[in-house]
């Protein structure tokens, strides 16, 4: 009997803890800043620079959110969260939005009580090899030794891929990415594998980056995107449409430089995006010019991409899958109308 009471009490506490509070937007507005959970250790996605200013793709998305809500892209508080505590932080309301290169999976969406707002970056696991090997496809990697980090899904993805293609490989397993890069650089393994965005970042650190190539095969789907806590549809909509506004702006050719001229555009889609026509922003608690603010202060999706991970940065990533659907990529957003 007593034990039952205890179990009930504990369950009650957990239920209370996971129950949602309505009106996240009001909470955020009252607080005056968006609290965003970021990684803080992924090159190009969220890293503080030498002045302590946060930079990266994940970070700029949060700035866009703040621009839409407050008309001030700097009203974001970035909280670094680890891979393990990120979902707890979101569930307990410690952070308002999780923008931490998190892969959208069924389990996270359904079991962890999250809502993913969309896909900010299409990532996937790839391979890097030395040009000396003369390999130009992952299908030729039979018998290769592969540097892998422990405790990640990368290991499982590799073994699944090799099993599916009837090939063998020798895993060389390490605790940290730094360690495995050094080992790969010294030539003790033939192949280095991790997500393609990570491969690009790691290639820069090698002693002769130009000697290494990233193979075209991508063996896993890692759609990364911002997530919010389940149960507040208004807030989820704001986060989702902030992302869509970024993408639509690029598709319509609206950039941070020409956004003021674009206000005079005759294109109804641009008019609706920038709030010249309709009251779309007001429908979810923001202002008419919410998307104008985003583009003006942060830029469109393409600008954010180029600024943080694009060809002119150290990461030198091509748009690839992350090109707009009109240019053969996967980036696609529903229209604002």
């Amino acid at each position: 009997m007593r034990r039952k009471t205890w179990i009930c009490a504990i369950l009650a506490v957990f239920l209370c803890a996971s129950g949602a509070v309505a009106g996240m937007l009001d909470t955020v507005k009252q607080r005056g800043v968006v609290v965003a959970g970021v990684s803080g250790k992924v090159p190009g996605f969220s890293v503080p620079d030498d002045k302590g200013v946060w930079r990266g793709l994940d970070v700029d998305f949060c700035r866009a959110l703040a621009a839409a809500i407050f008309n001030d892209a700097e009203k974001v508080k970035f909280v670094p969260v680890t891979t393990k505590e990120r979902f707890t932080a979101l569930q307990t309301g410690e952070i308002d939005v999780l923008s931490r290169n998190t892969t959208w999976t069924f389990e996270r969406d359904v079991q962890q009580g999250l809502d993913f707002a969309g896909i900010l970056f299409f990532d996937g696991q790839g391979f890097m090899v030395n040009k000396k090997l003369g390999v130009n496809s992952a299908k030729q990697l039979d018998g290769a030794s592969i540097c892998i980090q422990t405790g990640t899904t990368t290991e499982k993805n590799v073994s699944d891929y090799f099993a599916a293609n009837n090939m063998k490989f020798k895993p060389v397993v390490f605790e940290s990415a730094d360690e495995s890069t050094v080992i790969y650089d010294s030539g003790r393994c033939d192949v280095y594998t991790t997500d393609t965005s990570g491969l690009a970042a790691r290639r820069v650190t090698l002693s002769k980056p130009e000697d290494h190539i990233i193979l075209p095969e991508v063996i896993s789907k890692e759609p990364l995107g911002p997530a919010v806590r389940q149960g507040d549809n208004q807030w989820a909509d704001i986060v989702r449409w902030t992302l869509f506004a970024l993408i639509n702006a690029e598709e319509l050719g609206v950039t941070s430089k020409n956004v003021d001229e674009m206000l005079k555009s005759n294109n109804p889609e641009i008019k609706q995006l920038l709030g010249v026509e309709g009251n779309y922003g007001e429908q979810f608690g923001l202002t008419k010019d919410w998307a104008y603010r985003i583009v003006k202060q942060v830029g469109n999706y393409g600008e954010i991409f180029d600024r943080n991970v694009g060809p002119n940065t150290a990461l030198k990533l091509n748009r690839g899958q992350n090109a707009l659907w009109t240019r053969g990529g996967l980036i696609y957003a529903p229209p604002i109308r």
Binding site: V13, F14, C16, A17, G19, V21, G40, K41, V42, P43, G44, V47, P48, D49, D50, K51, G52, R55, K77, V79, P80, V81, T82, K84, E85, T88, A89, Q91, T92, G93, E94, D178, V182, A201, V204, T205, L206, N308, V309, T313, A314, L315
Partner: protein, 481 residues
């Protein structure tokens, strides 16, 4: 009798092979074939490792410039270390995200700490000698002009007041009369506690009427002062300095770090980071875990079964789990069990976790010391009519703690290094900031420099602690001399 010498002949000098450099070498490096071969092996290892390391770290290193280009060809030497990376990041590494214009507050607090704790260590704790008294006066007063030059008049006058307080208070203490003796121990103690609580609220009220913010801190300082005045009456200025260092100083430091009153901008703890955060964690951890540890050790040897069981339970529970899991519990599990919307400050959670964890270890070290004191000492104290706390204070603890200084130092060093584990709850301590610096896409690939720097920083902290403890041990070894 002419063959008897009347003048003493001069002593022959020792043979050259026994004295000077050669003698030292023969005795220390080439005394046996084993020793000789070890010397050559050692030399070979040094020759093999040192020149490449020095070449990398010093001679070929890149010091100038402010971007990655300074370290790669054609401008820099890629074979040498890139200290530019550390140089550019130095502010971040030291202070984390703490706003640049407010960083002087951290410098100030640590300067005050050095001026106040330094002479205590120099003079030897609580030594009654006059020479030491002079060091206690001179060194802190030297710090005041430095602070005046660096931080201006306001902070300097606060520093002057704080640094001069021990001397003034010890004079004041000797003048004020005793409390009426008839009240007895408990009466007196409760009077002191009541007075200090009153003073606390008076401080809070005063701060509220003046609208300065930081009410709690001001109240605490007032409460501590009222508490200490009767407790420490007739104590030396060194004793006062130590007491103020443990009570009032943390309040001042906290006020400067967090701000939010007296014209200091509020800086939330989420922005604390780097070496500063490491030192805060280590400092608070050490000062909190020591007294808790002593109490736990006493509790474990207590005759009262409930207290004993509680202490044993706590110590064994904590020692049974790794620190990383304690931190993980407080960061991941604890928030789930709290009601919606309650957030306990992350730094506070880490501080409590680290302090309690190391208190358990401290307790066992101190218990070792307590067990080493012969039964006769306890009995002698009782025979003199000392009650429990008095015998502990005057007879047992001074001896026991002196014995276990090496053990305490071990624990303290462990704590200082384990602060890096707060990475699991993503507090940006020195190592956390370094790791994030390594991920900056403008500065990829300087892992070696980063970890060499981190190693050096921790070595400086730990070597400092270990030298201080050796000094302390020497100073306190009255009985074993």
């Amino acid at each position: 009798m002419s063959y008897v010498k009347t003048v003493r002949t001069r002593d022959l000098p020792p043979p050259p092979t026994e004295s000077g450099l050669i003698g030292w070498l023969r005795h220390n490096l080439f005394s046996s074939w084993l020793n000789t071969s070890m010397t050559f092996v050692g030399l070979a290892v040094l020759l093999w490792t040192l020149p490449p390391f020095l070449g990398w770290a010093l001679f070929k290193a890149n010091w100038l410039g402010d971007s990655q280009n300074a370290c790669v060809q054609p401008m820099g030497n890629p074979d040498g270390a890139c200290w530019v990376f550390i140089k550019v990041r130095f502010g971040m590494l030291m202070y984390g995200f703490y706003p640049e214009v407010d960083r002087w507050r951290i410098d100030y607090a640590f300067l005050l700490l050095a001026a106040s704790a330094g002479p205590l260590l120099m003079a030897g704790l609580l030594s009654p000698k006059h020479r030491d008294e002079r060091i206690l006066m001179v060194v802190p007063s030297l710090a005041v002009p430095v602070i005046l030059a660096l931080h201006g008049a306001g902070p300097a006058s606060l520093a002057l007041a704080y640094l001069a307080a021990p001397t003034l208070l010890s004079r004041l203490g000797t003048r004020t009369g005793k409390l009426p003796p008839s009240t007895g121990f408990f009466g007196r103690a409760s009077a002191i506690v009541a007075a200090s609580i009153l003073a606390y609220w008076a401080g809070v009220l005063a701060a509220q009427t003046l609208q300065t913010g930081l009410e709690g801190v001001i109240g605490l300082v007032a409460g501590f002062l009222v508490f200490l005045l009767p407790t420490l009456r007739r104590s030396s200025s060194a004793m006062w300095r130590l007491a103020l260092l443990l009570t009032v100083y943390p309040c001042i430091a906290y006020a400067f770090f967090i701000g939010g009153g007296f014209g200091l901008r509020y800086v939330e703890t989420d922005l604390w980071g780097g070496m500063f955060l490491t030192l805060v964690l280590a400092g608070v951890g050490i000062t909190a875990s020591f007294p808790i540890g002593v109490l736990l050790a006493l509790g474990r040897r207590s005759n009262m079964p409930v207290i004993r069981a509680l202490c044993i339970g706590f110590i064994e529970l904590i020692r049974g789990v790794p620190l990383i899991s304690v931190l993980f519990m407080v960061s991941v599990m604890l928030p789930l069990t709290l009601p919606e919307g309650t957030h306990i400050n992350k730094l506070l959670r880490a501080l409590v976790g680290v302090s309690l964890f190391y208190a358990a270890y401290m307790a066992e070290v101190v218990r070792g010391g307590l067990q080493a004191i012969p039964r006769g000492q306890y009995e002698a104290a009782e025979a003199l009519g000392f009650r429990y706390w008095k015998s502990l204070r005057l007879v047992i603890l001074p001896q026991a703690l002196r014995l276990v200084i090496p053990g305490i130092t071990n624990t303290v060093l462990g704590l200082a290094k384990d602060t890096t584990l707060v990475a699991v709850i993503n507090l940006m301590d020195l190592l956390g900031i370094l790791k994030s610096a390594l991920a900056d896409s403008n500065w990829l690939g300087f892992t070696k420099e980063a970890y060499v720097f981190a190693g050096l920083a921790f070595w400086v902290i730990c070597f400092g602690i270990s030298r201080t403890s050796m000094r302390l041990e020497k100073r306190l070894r009255y009985g074993n001399r």
